[in-house]
C-alpha cells in the first residue's frame, strides 16, 4: 500500500472530525475547565477556584428547587406525551381520510418554531382575553392566571410541551405499529386471543423499541426545556418554572456568573448520562429488537 492509500481514509474523514472536535469536544472540555473558575465573561482573567462552584451549587436552595422542577416537568412530559401518543397512534393506525387528516393536524405543531408556539399559547392562556379562560367560562370554571399562578404555571408549560410533541410521538408509534406483520394478528385471531391480550402480549412488546426510543429522547429533550420558559414565564412565578437550562442561561448571561453556570452545565451532562444509562440498564432487556 502506498503512503497515499494509507492516508486517504484519514483525509476523507478529516472535515467531519475537525467539525466534531471544534464544535463538540472542545466546548465540552472548555465547559469543564470553566466550571472550576470564576469569570464574568468580560474580564481577561479567569480565576481558578477549584470545586467552589460545585459546592455553592449543591448548597443552593434555588438549585435544589430547579432540579425538583426539572425532574417533575420531565416526568409529566414523558408520561403524558407518550401516554397520550399510544392511544392516539392505535386510533390513527387505520386507513381513511379522517385518520390521515388528523395525523397531519397533530403533527403540524412539530414543524412550527417553539417561539411561535409559545406566543400563541401565551395568548390562549392570557388571564383577561385568552381563549382558555373564555372556553372555561362556558363550563362555569372561574378565570385563572394560568402562567402567573404558581400552582398552574408548570402544568401550563407541560400542556404546551405535550401539544408540541404529541404529533411526533404518535408518528413514531404509528410507524412502529405498521411494521408489525399482519399475519401475527391473524395467528392470534386463530388462537382465540381477546383484544386486550392482543394488545398486551403482541402489540405492546412489538412496539417496545419505538416506546424505548421515545422514552430516551423525550427524557433528554424535557430536561433541556428552555424556549417556552424563556418566552412564557422567565422561570417565574417565584421560580416555580425555573428549570436547569434556563437557570444556566440566567446565571451565565444575566448575572455573568460563567463559572457557576458552567458547573451547572457539567451537572446536567452527568445527570443526562446517568438517566440514559439507567434507562438502558433497567429496560434494554425488556425491549424486543427483531
Amino acid at each position: 500500500m502506498s503512503f497515499w492509500d494509507r492516508v486517504k481514509p484519514y483525509v476523507m474523514v478529516s472535515p467531519s472530525i475537525t467539525v466534531f472536535l471544534l464544535f463538540f469536544i472542545y466546548p465540552i472540555m472548555y465547559l469543564f475547565f470553566l466550571s472550576f473558575t470564576s469569570w464574568n465573561l468580560i474580564s481577561l482573567t479567569k480565576t481558578f477556584v477549584g470545586i467552589e462552584n460545585y459546592v455553592e451549587l449543591l448548597k443552593s436552595p434555588q438549585f435544589h428547587l430547579v432540579i425538583k422542577n426539572t425532574v417533575l416537568y420531565t416526568f409529566l412530559m414523558v408520561s403524558i406525551s407518550i401516554g397520550l401518543a399510544l392511544p392516539t397512534a392505535l386510533w390513527l393506525n387505520k386507513r381513511g381520510f379522517l385518520h390521515k387528516f388528523t395525523q397531519g393536524v397533530i403533527f403540524t405543531p412539530h414543524i412550527i418554531s417553539l417561539v411561535s408556539i409559545s406566543l400563541v399559547w401565551m395568548w390562549i392562556m392570557d388571564p383577561d382575553y385568552g381563549l382558555l379562560n373564555w372556553v372555561m367560562g362556558f363550563v362555569g370554571i372561574p378565570p385563572s392566571k394560568w402562567l402567573a399562578n404558581p400552582k398552574t404555571a408548570l402544568i401550563s408549560l407541560v400542556v404546551v410541551g405535550v401539544w408540541k410533541t404529541l404529533g411526533y410521538n404518535t408518528l413514531v408509534l404509528i410507524a412502529g405499529l405498521q411494521s408489525i406483520p399482519k399475519d401475527i394478528y391473524e395467528a392470534a385471531e386463530l388462537d382465540n386471543a381477546s383484544k386486550w391480550r392482543n394488545f398486551y402480549k403482541i402489540t405492546l412488546p412489538m412496539l417496545s423499541p419505538s416506546l424505548f426510543f421515545l422514552l430516551v429522547i423525550s427524557t433528554i429533550a424535557s430536561f433541556k426545556v428552555f424556549d417556552t420558559i424563556n418566552i412564557m414565564t422567565q422561570g417565574g412565578p417565584i421560580d416555580t418554572t425555573n428549570m436547569i437550562v434556563f437557570f444556566i442561561y440566567q446565571n451565565a448571561f444575566d448575572f455573568f456568573k460563567i463559572g457557576y453556570a458552567s458547573a451547572a452545565g457539567v451537572l446536567l451532562v452527568i445527570f443526562l448520562g446517568l438517566m440514559t444509562f439507567i434507562h438502558f440498564k433497567l429496560l434494554a432487556n425488556r425491549v424486543h429488537y427483531r
Binding site: P181, D183, I184, E186, A187, A188, E189, L190, D191, N192, A193, S194, R197, K201, I202, P205, M206, S208, H288, R290
Partner: protein, 341 residues
C-alpha cells in the same frame, strides 16, 4: 375430525369477484390439496375456511355446523402460515402455549400437551428460545406444534413449505404425510406446486380464476383430466396440446403426455403417427426431454430410451389409448374418445 362443506361461496374484493359460487366438499380425515397458479383463489378459499376473510355470499360448514360468521378462534381450526407467523417476542413455549392460555386450559394440562407435542415434532430442547434464534425448519416445527396443541378439527396450511430449501422441503413433506396418518385429522393444504400437490394429497382440487377445474385423487387427475387446464397444470413437462381437427373432425384440440410418445419406433396399428425434427434436448440422467418441431406445432417428448442427436428428422408414434380429445372450450370429450379411439 370433521368434513368441510362450502356452499355457493362468493368472495369479492371491492368490485372484483375473485370466487364465484364455489361449491366444495372436503371429506373427513382427508388430505386435500388446493392447487393452482397464483391468483386462482386457493389461498382466499383457505382463509375463508379459517375465518380470516369474510364471505360475501354462501355458507361454510365444518362438521355439519354452520360457521360462516363464527370467529376464527372458535371454529376448531388451526392454521400454519407461509412465513410461520410466530410471535417474535415470545419464546417457543409461549408461542405454543398462547392459544391454550386464551382458551383457559389449566396449567397441568397445558404442560402435558406441550410436552407430548414437542416430543412428536422434536422441539423439546428449544422451548426457551425465541423464534429469531431458530432455523427455518425449526420455526416450521414451532408453527406446526402451535397448531397441533389446540387439537383442531381441521388443519389449514397455506404454502407452509415454500420458505424452506429444497432438501428440507422434501423432508418436511414426508413428515407432514406421516403426521396426517398419525393424527387422522382433516388437512387442507394450499400450494402452487403441482409436484407437492400430487405427492401429498389424497384429494386434489385444481383451481383457476376462482373456479374449481377438477377435483380428484392424484391418479385420476393425471390419467383422466377433465379439461385442458388440468391436463397442462398437472405433469412436467405439461401435456402436449395440438389442433385436433386434422385428425378428428369433432375435436378442436388433441392432447397427449410427453412420456407417452414413442420415438423412432417401427410403425404400429392404432397409433397416431407424425414426423418431426429434434430442436433441443435436455438430458436429465434417467430421462431425456426433447423439443420436437412437427407440422402441427412444437411438442415435448420425455423418454427413458436411447439418446438421439439434435437436428435429425424423427418418426413419432402415440398410441390411441393415450390420446385425449377436447372441445373448443377445452373440456374433455370422453364419449367421443370411446367411439373414435
Amino acid at each position: 375430525m370433521a368434513n368441510i362443506y362450502l356452499q355457493d361461496i362468493t368472495k369479492k374484493y371491492e368490485n372484483i369477484t375473485v370466487i364465484k359460487n364455489l361449491n366444495l366438499e372436503i371429506k373427513d380425515s382427508s388430505f386435500t390439496v388446493l392447487v393452482g397458479p397464483s391468483g386462482c383463489g386457493k389461498s382466499t378459499t383457505l382463509r375463508m375456511i379459517a375465518g380470516l376473510e369474510k364471505v360475501n355470499n354462501g355458507e361454510i360448514f365444518i362438521d355439519g355446523e354452520e360457521i360462516t360468521h363464527v370467529n376464527p378462534g372458535k371454529r376448531g381450526v388451526a392454521m400454519v402460515f407461509q412465513n410461520y407467523a410466530l410471535y417474535p417476542t415470545m419464546t417457543v413455549k409461549e408461542n405454543i402455549e398462547f392459544g391454550l392460555k386464551n382458551n383457559k386450559i389449566s396449567k397441568e394440562e397445558r404442560e402435558s400437551v406441550i410436552q407430548e407435542i414437542c416430543d412428536i415434532v422434536g422441539l423439546t430442547e428449544y422451548l426457551d428460545r425465541k423464534p429469531s434464534n431458530l432455523s427455518g425448519g425449526q420455526r416450521q416445527r414451532v408453527a406446526l406444534a402451535r397448531a397441533m396443541v389446540k387439537r383442531p378439527k381441521v388443519f389449514l396450511m397455506d404454502e407452509p413449505l415454500s420458505n424452506l430449501d429444497a432438501k428440507l422441503r422434501n423432508q418436511m413433506r414426508t413428515e407432514l404425510i406421516q403426521l396426517h396418518k398419525k393424527l387422522g385429522t382433516t388437512f387442507v393444504y394450499v400450494t402452487h406446486d403441482q409436484v407437492e400437490a400430487m405427492s401429498m394429497g389424497d384429494a386434489i382440487v385444481v383451481m383457476d380464476k376462482g373456479v374449481i377445474q377438477h377435483m380428484a385423487n392424484p391418479v385420476d387427475l393425471y390419467n383422466d383430466p377433465a379439461n385442458i387446464f388440468t391436463a397442462q397444470f398437472i405433469g412436467a413437462p405439461p401435456m402436449n396440446i395440438i389442433p385436433g381437427k386434422k385428425f378428428f373432425e369433432e375435436s378442436t384440440y388433441l392432447g397427449f403426455r410427453p412420456e407417452k410418445v414413442k420415438l423412432d419406433s417401427t410403425s404400429a396399428d392404432n397409433c397416431l403417427a407424425m414426423k418431426g425434427k429434434i430442436l433441443t434436448r435436455e438430458i436429465l440422467g434417467s430421462e431425456t426431454i426433447y423439443s420436437i418441431r412437427t407440422e402441427v406445432g412444437d411438442i415435448k417428448v420425455k423418454t427413458i430410451d436411447s439418446v438421439f442427436p439434435e437436428d435429425i428428422e424423427i418418426q413419432l408414434h402415440i398410441d390411441y389409448k393415450h390420446i385425449y380429445l377436447f372441445d373448443v372450450a377445452g373440456n374433455r370429450q370422453r364419449n367421443l374418445e370411446k367411439v373414435k379411439l
